[in-house]
């Protein structure tokens, strides 16, 4: 199938319209309110009051927490989501390759990048880099179809999956090239998809 997108050649880099970034920032982080927020009590399911009271602890999406915690007058303080707390960091430091990162956090790296803003010690950033570099060998083996255990793909986080998918596609193209004389021209991706769907509808 013909890929018309060259965009793929350049690795993921978040932007305002990036679906991945929007989905990643929907993940939740614990925070504690420093002031009363009148009228927005309904955000706290455990309470029936009209106002959200100072001192309340809630788990809110990162996009919201980020806004409320920054600026000159923060409304909340952020706590690290559990996957980035010391206990979990220790697990990753012990052996990051053994961890099912998908369960750890679907968007472990993306969320981590956002959270790292609020971690002055730099522990989050350090564990992100450590985890990524330690798990790279596994990722490369998967992409290169070496030591096939496809179930390992399920244990990748979303960023790793993306890298795996692009890397694996390229590796398969390369292997095809090495093994075949001519790679025939193919129909465009969307055309093929469209046709498949049509067939399903008919059946």
């Amino acid at each position: 199938m013909i890929k018309l997108k060259i965009v793929l050649e350049h690795s993921y880099y978040p932007n305002y319209f990036a679906i991945e970034d929007i989905i990643a920032t929907q993940e939740k982080a614990p925070c504690k309110f420093l002031v009363n927020i009148p009228k927005l009590g309904k955000l706290n399911a455990a309470s029936e009051e009209d106002d959200l009271k100072a001192g309340t602890s809630l788990e809110l999406p990162v996009w919201l927490v980020q806004q409320l915690a920054s600026g000159r007058q923060p409304l909340v303080t952020i706590d690290l989501p559990k996957s980035y707390k010391p206990a979990y960091r220790e697990i990753l430091k012990a052996d990051a390759t053994a961890v099912d990162l998908h369960k750890f956090g679907l968007y472990f790296y993306e969320l981590g990048c956002h959270i790292a803003q609020f971690d002055n010690q730099g522990d989050v950033r350090e564990i992100l880099v450590h985890t990524f570099t330690t798990r790279f060998k596994q990722l490369m083996d998967l992409a290169d179809n070496i030591g096939l255990d496809p179930s390992a793909i399920d244990k990748l986080d979303m960023l790793e999956r993306k890298l795996f998918k692009d890397g694996n596609l390229a590796r398969n193209l390369l292997n095809n090239w090495l093994n075949n004389s001519i790679i025939p021209m193919g129909a465009a991706t969307m055309v093929v998809n469209h046709r498949k769907r049509k067939r399903i509808n008919v059946e």
Binding site: F17, I22, P38, L40, L43, Q67, M185, M190, V191
Partner: protein, 198 residues
Amino acid sequence: MLGEKAYSLVKELEDRQCEILPYNTDLVTEIATEIVHLYDQNHQDVRLEDSRTPGTSTNLMPTVRMRHAAIQRNQRCLLAYHYNRLRLLRQMRWEFGSILPTELKENLSAAENGWFNKYSTILGKYMRSIGENGGLNLAVDLKPPKALFIEVRCLVDYGKLELNDGTNVLLKKNSQHFLPRSECEELIRRGILQHIAN
């Protein structure tokens, strides 16, 4: 919860780099309603704040700020949904050409249909501007050239194809032909011909 609908709208696009789903008018309208609602509430509270004597009664600014964050989030999701659909439309223009299959067209909003045609027009204009001799079609020559002629099989009853040298070829389902590569590349991409590599 704030911004939930907007989130599910964006979620629709996840892992859909190669297909366009029906435009979700209902959800888009609901999100617009949520935004207007938040906006109105903020408007009211800001007015109350303006008339409030400092130090008296409740400070509404934190509430306003929180709602504003939700407004921005809703807007981001809404625009991301539309933007990424335009990117898909762009890809469709390159893959299907300037005329879309009707079933796909039905999945677009009126504004999207308009955008598709607009994009087609400006792209065509650009291609015609290349060089001094009437332009260059960028929708062909997608792969490095190998041979001038290639073996193809026809996948549908397409009808007559007139070649640049004036000869006519009848493209019937399952018929095989030896054709100039440059003249059948587009038909291959559109799934009408299949390239048979030996």
